[in-house]
Amino acid sequence: MAPAVLVKNLKKSYGNVEAVKDVSFAIEPGEIFGLLGPNGAGKTTTIRCLCTLMTPDAGQLEINGISVLEDPRAARQMLGYIAQEVALDKVLTGRELLELQAAIYHLPKAKSRDRIAQMLALLEIEDIADKKTGTYSGGQKKRLDLAAGLLHQPAVLVLDEPTVGLDIESRTAVWNFLRQLQREGTTILLTSHYLEEVDALAGRVAIIDSGQVISSGTPAALKAEVGGDRITLRIREFTPDAEATSARDLLTHLPVVQEVIINSAQGNSLNLVVNQDADALTAVQTALKAANLPTFGISQSQPSLDDVYLAATGRTLMDAEMAATGKRDLKKEKKQAMR
């Protein structure tokens, strides 16, 4: 059976900026698949190419074995696309928007009425269905957008940053809804720069950075692959470079420690990869005490998806995010996104 979604060697540049250098992944039917990466990594561009909003420079895109580039209409029929920014017509009511949506997917009248009633009930927005969308809260807009995207019963639902800007309650509601959809057989592709979101929802994940897939698999496998436990150590709140370096040299020689990375973005805190050993923390603390180094904070944890990202790129997701914020030309990106 063909994968529900196939993306192979995708490439897309804007002028001389390579937004997507080489992205490949395959999603099995019924799976929730997460594309994780910092803003500007190429997630949205990948999705826009898949949803026929952009023509890639090179690569293969398939939905249920149908080539997106050769038969875009068939692909569109099978896709539901939920953009990051909810674009509703604020003058229309929710129901009118859904009616428009049903018509552009060519649902017969009776079926359209049934589906609209069904989706309004499912997303619990019946009571506001006849109010103008301009009066909706952020969470209500997202629900309406979900209802619109699912109206034609797409085999594959694609969501770009589904919970950005939502309150915790709405976010949980969206998560639960997506899980329910998956149980009913819908394949889901979502992008996120929230580790938590991908960890909570996705059966498999591809971590994407600077337009390339740097790692992919189940979250558990990815974490197991990087191995060991993590110790985050802060000698002082803001540790001087020299002190951080000497502490690193000291700790690298401990038998329990596998690797030490100085995280300059977090006040020169030290990120240690240690053997999965209950005594690791004690060993590190003893060594510090012997060298007369103070401890501002120390904690041990199992590897997270962020550690997977850190291991592959040498920086945490949040740091990448912050580094990207200053460099991106959001206005220019908006123009590129405009069609």
Partner: protein, 289 residues
């Protein structure tokens, strides 16, 4: 719940997807047109202003030249009568020129993406919906002007004349709407679109026969006005108003190049609109398909 809330991957295969036909095209075009009319209904300001503005033109501008010697403006009895045709055409033109704005805002707000990810039978339905909407608006405006003109003493053409006037207005509206939509897809944003609308609007009015006849103009402006498609909509309507016995062979306009009959004027207008459609087609296709 008997029906699955989500998809049924087995049934949603490409094999079951019917080839898009006329029924689908009509369905999507009607839905898109309906959206524009709902917007109009909930925000009627545009329509109200769009009716009041040409009426004020007619009353105020007409009064401005009320006392010119009769017969100065060709065969017209008074300036108000002369002006009516100009206002009808200019109003329709200005309305059609703005047709691109809603599409531009849909682009900017991302609403257009909602349409573009849908399996539309033809993306030309987006264009057609705008054209239908603007055409309806123009006909409402035109009716208002025709009725007020009649009260101001300009008379009323016969049924055939009114029908031909409708056809002329629609032809112009479709051509200009096409150009405006082409711009809405080609220009980077609404600021640029508004700038183009501003610099096109009034010059095209002044360089046409809307306000004065060709014979008033210096030779260079006569040439410009004779190349202006608006003149080829204005002069036929003016002629129909003044000559209940109009014929397609009647000479309605003496340009520096040639005498233009009613039939030739209509042909030129029709060619202009057809050309506009042909020109923007690749522009729209490149952007949205």
């Amino acid at each position: 719940m008997s029906q699955s809330i989500a998809s049924n991957p087995v049934s949603t295969s490409a094999a079951t997807l019917p080839t898009p036909g006329t029924a689908e095209f009509i369905q999507e075009t009607l839905a898109l047109t309906r959206r524009l009319f709902i917007q109009l209904q909930r925000r009627p300001t545009t329509l109200v202003a769009g009716i009041i503005q040409p009426l004020m033109w007619l009353v105020l501008f007409g009064a401005l030249f009320q006392n010119v010697p009769s017969g100065l403006f060709g065969e017209s009895q008074n300036y108000g009568q002369f002006l009516g045709a100009g206002i009808i055409v200019f109003t329709a033109f200005a309305g059609a020129l703005n047709a691109g704005l809603p599409v531009m805002f849909d682009r900017e707000f991302g609403f257009l993406n909602r349409l573009l990810v849908a399996p539309l039978a033809s993306r030309f339905s987006i264009v057609l919906a705008s054209a239908l909407f603007i055409a309806t608006l123009s006909l409402i405006q035109t009716s208002a002007i025709v009725i007020l003109s009649a009260f101001l003493g300009a008379g009323l053409p016969g049924p055939a004349g009114l029908l031909l006037m409708t056809l002329i207005v629609l032809t112009l509206v479709f051509g200009v709407t096409a150009l405006s939509l082409g711009l809405a897809f080609a220009l980077p944003g609404h600021i640029e679109l508004l700038a183009v609308i501003f610099i096109t609007n009034l010059p095209l009015l002044f360089a046409s026969t809307a306000l004065v006849p060709l014979s008033f103009m210096p030779p260079w402006l006569q040439v410009v006005a004779s190349l202006n498609p608006l003149s080829y909509a204005i002069e036929p309507i003016r002629y129909i108003y003044l000559h209940p016995d109009w014929q397609f062979s009647s000479v309605i306009m003496q340009t520096p190049f040639a005498d233009i009959s009613l039939a030739i004027a209509l042909l030129i207008l029709f060619s202009f609109s057809a050309l506009a459609f042909i020109t923007i087609r690749p522009l729209i296709d490149r952007r949205i398909s």
